[in-house]
Structure formats: structure tokens, C-alpha cells
């Protein structure tokens, strides 16, 4: 059953979608015309990009995609879990909190992605420098977020658990960890785009495989079609990551949404 107003709403939504499609098509056509009119050496053409993607998806892309995804996922998984763990443990220690606070505030603003050249110097051209870079960037973002989350856990809740007879580990598992979940999810949301930036930066600087390598090779050969094709792929990966982050956040926040 849909009320008239809902129908009107869905009608409006349909027309928005219509406009979106129209705009997208118009952009593509304009782009294509511009390319064929002679600007192709700058903007390429959508049709060529599509063909390029089609060829890549037939095989040559996968080794690069695999490299990028492996670096991203491995680095992120290691960095995020260590960061969250360290944040929860140090966040519950008053001594650590007192000493670390200014260090954390200071380090938070340091663009750690800029350490990429250092890791390439240390670890060479394989997966490792990128994994370390992604890991470190992720670690700190997760650590900062989780640390402040752990500090905000209500002491009264801790006391009530203690009186109930909960041990340290039980308080950690039943109170601190779920209490930090919101903050961890927030950290993941911030860190995922950063992790992608770190991966791509590392690959642009020096690598043997990956989307970044495709990109820098294409740039060296002034192959605009490939450049745009890689950008499109990275956009899709970025969207997938942000969608994943939203899903995680929604799951964790179920109890909060219930209240609203």
C-alpha cells in the first residue's frame, strides 16, 4: 500500500533518476564528441576507454588488481586489528592516557602517507612496502579513534560489572570491546579511503604490479585512454570501500538507530 504522498515521492525519485541518467549520457556524449573533434590526446574518448576496460577485464588487468587489493586488504586488516586492540588496551590505562595524549594529538595530524618513500627504500618494490604503509596509516587512525572511545567508557558501567563479579577479561570482552565498537567503526570509515590513497601512492612511486603501476606506465606513454580507465576502476573501488564502511557502521550502530 502506498499513500498518495509516497507515490508523489517515488515519482519525484523516478524523475531524479531520469535526470541523473540523462546527465550521465549527456556527459558521455559530450566527452565522446570532444574526443573525436580533436581533443582525444587530452581527454581520450569514452568508447575507447570502454574497449580498453573490456580488453583488460579479459585478462591483463587481474594481476594488477590482485596486487592492489592484496596490499590494501592485508595492510588494512593488520593495521586495523592491531590499532583497535592497542587503542582499547591503552585507552583503559590512566597512566598511558596521561602520557600519550599529547603524542596522540600531535601525531594525529602527521600525514603518515608521506612515509611511502621511506618504506620503499626499506622494503623494495614488492607488496611489503605498501602493506606496511597501509598498515601504519590504518593502525594510527584506528588507534586514535579506539583510544578516545575506550577512555569514554562510563566508569559506572565498569563498577557495576566488577560488583557483578566480572573479571578483567570479561569486562574487556563484554564492556570495553562492544563499547568501543562504534569508535572502531568510525575509525574504519575514516581509514578505508586513506588506505586506498596509501596503496595508490606507494604504487605510483615504485612497484612491480598494481593499478598504480598501470597508471604511471600509462602516464609515461601519454596513453590517456588507460589513465581514464584506471581512474574509473579506482573510483569503483573507492565506492565499494565506502559502501563497505557504511554497512559496518550501520551494523554496529543498530542499537543507536533503534533509539531514534
Amino acid at each position: 500500500m502506498s499513500t498518495p504522498s509516497q507515490q508523489a515521492q517515488s515519482g519525484a525519485r523516478d524523475s531524479v533518476v531520469g535526470w541523473q541518467v540523462a546527465l550521465g549520457v549527456a556527459l558521455l556524449i559530450g566527452w565522446e564528441i570532444a574526443g573525436r573533434a580533436g581533443a582525444a590526446r587530452w581527454v581520450s574518448e569514452p568508447s575507447k576507454i570502454a574497449v580498453k576496460l573490456w580488453i583488460w577485464l579479459g585478462g591483463p588487468l587481474y594481476v594488477h588488481l590482485a596486487a592492489t587489493v592484496t596490499e590494501l586488504v592485508t595492510g588494512f586488516a593488520i593495521g586495523a586489528s592491531l590499532g583497535a586492540l592497542a587503542g582499547m588496551m591503552l585507552g583503559r590505562s590512566p597512566v598511558a592516557a596521561a602520557v600519550l595524549r599529547p603524542v596522540i594529538v600531535g601525531l594525529y595530524s602527521v600525514p603518515l602517507v608521506a612515509l611511502a618513500p621511506l618504506f620503499i627504500m626499506f622494503f623494495g618494490l614488492g607488496y611489503l612496502p605498501k602493506i606496511v604503509l597501509v598498515g601504519i596509516v590504518t593502525f594510527f587512525l584506528l588507534f586514535f579513534n579506539t583510544f578516545s572511545g575506550a577512555q569514554r567508557i562510563d566508569e559506572d558501567l565498569v563498577h557495576s560489572m566488577e560488583i557483578m563479579g566480572a573479571g578483567r577479561w570479561e569486562i574487556f570482552r563484554k564492556l570495553v570491546a562492544p563499547g568501543c565498537a562504534v569508535w572502531i567503526a568510525g575509525g574504519i570509515k575514516t581509514a578505508l579511503p586513506y588506505a586506498l590513497v596509501a596503496t595508490v601512492t606507494g604504487e605510483l612511486l615504485a612497484t612491480r604490479a598494481g593499478l598504480g603501476l598501470l597508471l604511471s606506465q600509462a602516464a609515461e606513454q601519454f596513453d590517456m585512454t588507460s589513465i581514464y580507465a584506471v581512474l574509473l576502476l579506482l573510483m569503483v573501488i573507492g565506492l565499494l570501500l565506502s559502501e563497505a564502511a557504511n554497512r559496518i557502521e550501520q551494523r554496529v550502530l543498530r542499537w543507536r538507530q533503534a533509539a531514534e
Binding site: 559506572d156 563498577h159 557495576s160 560488583i163 563479579g165 563484554k174 562492544p178 533503534a258 533509539a259
Partner: protein, 277 residues
Amino acid sequence: MDQIAPAPSQSRKRDDPAKIRLVGAGKTFQVRGTELEALKPVDLGVGGEEFVALVGPSGCGKSTILNLVAGLLAPSAGQVLYDGEPVTGPNRRVGYLTQKDTLLPWRSTADNIRISLELKCRATPRAEATDRVAQMMELVGLRGFEHHYPAELSGGMRKRAALARTLIYEPETLLMDEPFGALDAQLKLLMLDQLQRLTRHRRMTVLFVTHDLGEAITLADRIVVVSARPGRIRAVHEVRLPRPRDVFTIRFSEDFARQHERLWDELKDDIIKGTDV
């Protein structure tokens, strides 16, 4: 009148040594460099299975007494004994229902009530835990709200959920800090009735903070009157009403009225003084 109050004459086990004993226990806080005396050294004994109500104006240190017994605060003077042993850390033999309901916001009501049964110290088989949770939810009138999160409950419902969470593991001693303040009159009576039934049936010792004289008289064996800050014990009254008491009608009895009047005389100066603080 600051003295060790003798165990009441009609105490169910009169030669039991006091379950809870405060010996010259006082508490002074450091608040931004200045000292704030919350509780003057007091002496107080609570016998096993006794129901003691602490009444007095707000901010008189009643909650401090509970925090001392619960081991959440260390006394800055004197000693707090539980079963003859000094309390040196969170007291795991009491159930503490604080003024603020300490429900975990990410757990549903039923899961909140269940939590103590999940702990290693009283691990309970799943099926049994589920049964007991259902009984408890029924008891506090929360049936149908099992899957609601605390934020979806009203203040009174949260209070009842917190009560159920404390009662479910049947602590031998119950510390309660104005547990029914937020409830409407009708519900409050129902809860008082349940509380009396449960604590007597399970032979619990209860230390109960309230500012509602009627509540105190209805439930308590003894009423300790605490004066405004810095808190000190002003008087101890025995409530000579037979048990079991009918919480719904007792307030209309003559005995009740007499007790109420006596207590009110005792308290009114402090209450008046307390309100304009």
C-alpha cells in the same frame, strides 16, 4: 546519637554478627584542591537479613555510604567491614542498584538482564539462563520488551530492567540507591511488593537509600536518618510493623501514620535545610 546501632530486637537471627559494619567510616573528597567532607565518620551496623533504609535530604552522603559498602570508594577515615572483613575493592557479594541505571546500551533488555549469568563466576547453562531471564522480566513487568534496547525504554522501565539484572543473580546483600524514584505511584507499589517478597524469600540483607519516608516505613526493619552535608547519622528508628506487610494498604494504618509523623519531625529541619542548598 552517633553510636553503633544495636541489632533490632525482632531481627530474624539476633545473635548473627553484623553483615555490614561501618566503624567510624567517613569520606572526604578532593575537589579541585579543596576538601569536601561528604560523610562525617559514622558507625552503623546492618544485621544479616535485615532491611535498613537510609533516609535524608539529597546530597547528605547516603550514596557515599552505599559506595563505601560496595567497595567503590575507600573510606578516608575508619573502616568498612563486610562479614567482619574489611572491604578493600569492589564488593562482589553485594548487588548494587545505583541511581543511574547502568544498562549496556548495545544489549537488548533481555541480554542486559542475562549478563551476570554469562560471567564465569556463575556460568549458567543457556536454557536455564533463558528461563530465569523470562521469569525476571515477568516479575518486573517488562514482558514483551525483551528485544528492546535500553534507549527505547522509558526511565521507569530502565530502572526495572536494572533491578531485574541485579536480582537475577540473587546476591546475598542488596544495595539500592533510590531505585524507584522515577516510577509512578501505582507501579512503585507493585515494585515494593515484589521487592519485599523477594528479599524475604531469598533471605537478603538490604541497605536501601530513599528520600520517601513512606517507602522506608513500608519496607524497612530499621530506618537510619542521615542529616544534610556533611552527612552524619542523626537517629535510628525501628519500624515496629508486623511482617509480611501489605504494601498497598499499610499506609492507611494507624501505626504507619504514627511512625511517619515521628520520622517527619526528625527529618523536617534537615529537609528544609537541604532543599535550599
